[in-house]
């Protein structure tokens, strides 16, 4: 526990998986209604929540529905009358839920959803990959991506603050298995701290009630639809500062913050940097340290904590001081590049002194990505800067086509 935490009298430390951290945060956020449906690696979030409800007599309602589509519909119905709502899913579950996720985005209801990242079939696959978490970034949701279990807890709480303020729902992504199923001590603030940070009696102009009835979500003509979409665009665009500010306020109360939209690591004098999200960031940071010591490469890490809002402002400030950026994507946009690399390029295109951007794709379906892989990325970036090798559309990490070929030969 940090000195600041001790000073602030925070003493409730628990050793938990990230999934339990999510469930604890949902309990501490005093969520009213949860829509629940199992899918690995998310399932234990719902198991913990049902246990809290049934053994601790919480007034929270959990609706154990028959599909993810309905899990999000439950959250939507609850939020539409002004209740605090939550659900969680992953992978196939998110795809099945997709229609509702988009609808809730358009409805401007402050729902929070955790997505424990997992690759999607076909073929059947359980391993970690970030493509699922990134999909709702086009669906009118904010998307935040913490690095470890403590930050997962803190980010769920921050997400309610952001959603209540902007009326944009928020996805909190967390690495399936790597975080969802591994433990770490986390510190839980006093309930009074959380209550004051995310009060429930905030303005709810959208909430249906029988004393002042109105219709929610009825058909519109195309003369206003574009304007409604614009408002979602603008609200997310402008919330870069809000994400920073909420993180800073959380620090005042708990002593913990994560850099707002971006955590900057060893960037002060850096020449090359890796953009990365989630749990792999720890390995990337270690690699930056290692290549500084071993090869004298001035390496740093840009950990995107927020994918929506995409931190165009902060990333531009950071990037203008760099010579090359390698974007590590545990996802892909088929035939084009990594999804985040694509967005980084879009964000930096108008910069006068823009760095070279190299897209890296790896770790799909849970394939291991190690510290040495990130070291290799740093050394390649340095070689690109020195003009010894060129930029490729995509460089693949851990791609072993021979392994697949040999299998088909056997068959």
């Amino acid at each position: 526990m940090s000195i600041i935490e001790e000073k602030k009298g925070v003493s409730n430390v628990k050793v938990v998986t990230a999934n339990e951290a999510v469930a604890l945060a949902v309990k501490c956020a005093k969520v009213d209604v949860v829509g629940a449906y199992p899918i690995s690696p998310q399932t234990s979030i719902m198991e913990y929540l049902t246990k809290y409800i049934e053994t601790e007599n919480l007034s929270m309602e959990i609706v154990r529905v028959e599909s993810e589509h309905s899990a999000m519909a439950v959250a939507m119905g609850a939020a539409s009358v002004g209740a605090r709502a939550f659900t969680a899913t992953a992978s196939q579950g998110l795809l099945y839920m997709a229609e509702m996720v988009y609808w809730v985005g358009g409805s401007r209801l402050p729902v929070v959803m955790a997505i424990t990242s997992r690759a999607m079939g076909a073929p059947w696959i359980l391993g970690n990959e970030h493509t699922d978490v990134l999909l709702p970034r086009e669906w009118g949701w904010m998307v935040l991506f913490p690095e470890h279990n403590q930050e997962v807890f803190d980010t769920i709480i921050q997400a309610y603050r952001i959603a209540d303020k902007t009326l944009i729902p928020v996805v909190v992504g967390l690495d399936g298995f790597i975080l969802s199923h591994t433990t770490m001590p986390i510190s839980i603030p006093d309930q009074s701290v959380i209550d004051s940070f995310i009060p429930k009696d905030v303005p709810k102009p959208y909430a249906l009630n029988t004393s002042n009835p109105f219709t929610h979500g009825n058909a519109v003509h195309s003369n206003v639809y574009l304007e409604f979409r614009y408002d979602i665009f603008r609200t997310i665009e402008e919330s870069e500062d809000l994400v920073d500010q909420v993180d800073k306020e959380w620090e005042k109360l708990t002593g913990r913050s994560y850099g707002g939209v971006i955590e900057e690591y060893l960037l002060d004098d850096a020449e090359v940097a890796i953009v990365v999200i989630g749990a792999s960031s720890g390995d990337a940071k270690q690699a930056a340290k290692n290549v500084r010591e071993k090869y004298g490469i001035k390496a740093g890490v840009i950990r995107l904590r927020s994918i929506r809002p995409f931190p165009v402002k902060r990333l531009s400030q950071i990037a203008s001081k760099l010579k090359a950026i390698g974007v590590f994507d545990r996802n892909m946009s088929p035939g084009l590049g990594g999804m985040i690399a694509t967005e980084v390029k879009f964000a930096l295109y108008d910069l006068k002194d823009k760095p070279i951007v190299q897209s890296y794709i790896g770790g799909l379906g849970g394939k291991d990505v190690r510290i040495v892989d990130f070291e290799k990325i740093f050394t390649e970036l340095k070689e690109i800067v020195d003009g010894r090798i060129g930029v490729q559309r995509v460089r693949w990490v851990g791609l072993d086509l021979a392994a697949v070929d040999s299998y088909f030969e056997e068959v």
Binding site: E61, S67, H69, A75, A79, W103, T215, H216, N218, A219
Partner: protein, 299 residues
């Protein structure tokens, strides 16, 4: 039993809405809301009702109304019911869905909410096809019917959703018709005061979808009951009871000829002798079955 003169004057679903002349769903909704009053939340999936309520910024509904995607309404209503419970608000939550949203795409969702016995009133207005898309077959479409996707007549019988709902063990299931308003009104009043999942299915003619003259919609709904095509009944706590408007027509000799019903509607124009025989067989079997169930515990 309520008489027609006792129906409230208050209107909760206003005139000037976007329905076609003679539309059965608005006749139904108007009277359902009269029975429910102001303390009700409405949940509506994609259907003609999404259009009929009128586009933003107008709305014909004077009660709070949540629109949802096609398959989602029973689940969204479940979330709403639970939220109102936590917040200590005591109001009725009513789903108002079409047959497509109930019999087909929403069936898993409706079944889930019924199995959980969510405290809500689910009303399916049955116009026997997807009317909002321009008239396409659903599993509520009767055998032989012409729709945009059954140009030579539907090959399958109508799915018996009320009995499927009853098999969930829910406290109340009923069928009703816009031609028998007081019967409908009393069923809504009864369901309003019950707890748990209540399912009511209302026969609601669609003038353009059935190729039916505007002024014939109530008449055709009456004939659907009198020919045995649409028997009205209740299943209250598992006990099956034929409703008064259908009572006389369980006996074959009392029923009006099916052709009286078919000839009003263009959707049945192409029916051949053998099609009518098949439909008649279906009506005979259902009527016999219901007559044998009358007054008995069936689930």
């Amino acid at each position: 039993m309520t008489s027609i003169k006792q129906l409230p004057y208050e209107e909760y679903f206003l005139a000037g809405n976007g329905s076609c002349p003679g539309c059965g769903l608005t006749i139904g909704l108007r009277n359902v809301l009269k029975a429910l009053g102001k303390e009700v939340y409405m949940v509506v999936p994609a259907s003609c009702s999404s259009v009929v309520q009128s586009p933003f910024p107008n709305s014909s509904a004077t009660v709070p109304l949540l629109n949802t995607p096609f398959a989602a309404s029973a689940a969204a209503a479940s979330g709403m019911v639970r939220a109102l419970k936590v917040m200590g608000r005591d109001s009725v939550v009513m789903v108002w869905a079409g047959d497509g949203g109930t019999f087909d795409i929403g069936l898993a969702t409706v079944s889930g909410a019924a199995e959980r016995n969510e405290d809500l009133l689910y009303i399916c207005y049955d116009n026997e096809a997807y009317m909002n898309t321009g008239g396409h077959r659903s599993s509520a479409t009767p055998l032989g019917t012409f729709t945009g996707t059954t140009p030579t007549g539907k090959r399958e019988n109508k799915k018996n959703i009320p009995l499927i709902m009853a098999a969930h063990g829910i406290p109340y299931v009923a069928t009703a018709s816009i031609a028998f308003i007081t019967d409908l009104y009393d069923k809504i009043l009864k369901a309003k005061d019950m707890k748990g999942f209540r399912y009511i299915q209302i026969f609601s003619p669609c003038t353009p979808g059935w190729l039916l003259p505007t002024e014939k919609s109530v008449e055709s709904a009456k004939l659907a009951v009198q020919t045995g095509m649409y028997p009205l009944f209740e299943i209250e706590n598992g006990i099956f009871k034929i409703s008064a408007p259908s009572k006389a027509y369980l006996k074959k000799e009392k029923r009006k000829p099916l052709t009286d019903y078919f000839k009003l509607q263009g959707r049945f124009k192409h029916l051949k002798e053998e099609d009518i025989k098949l439909i008649e067989k279906w009506v005979d079997e259902i009527s016999e079955e219901y007559a044998s169930m009358d007054g008995k515990k069936v689930v």
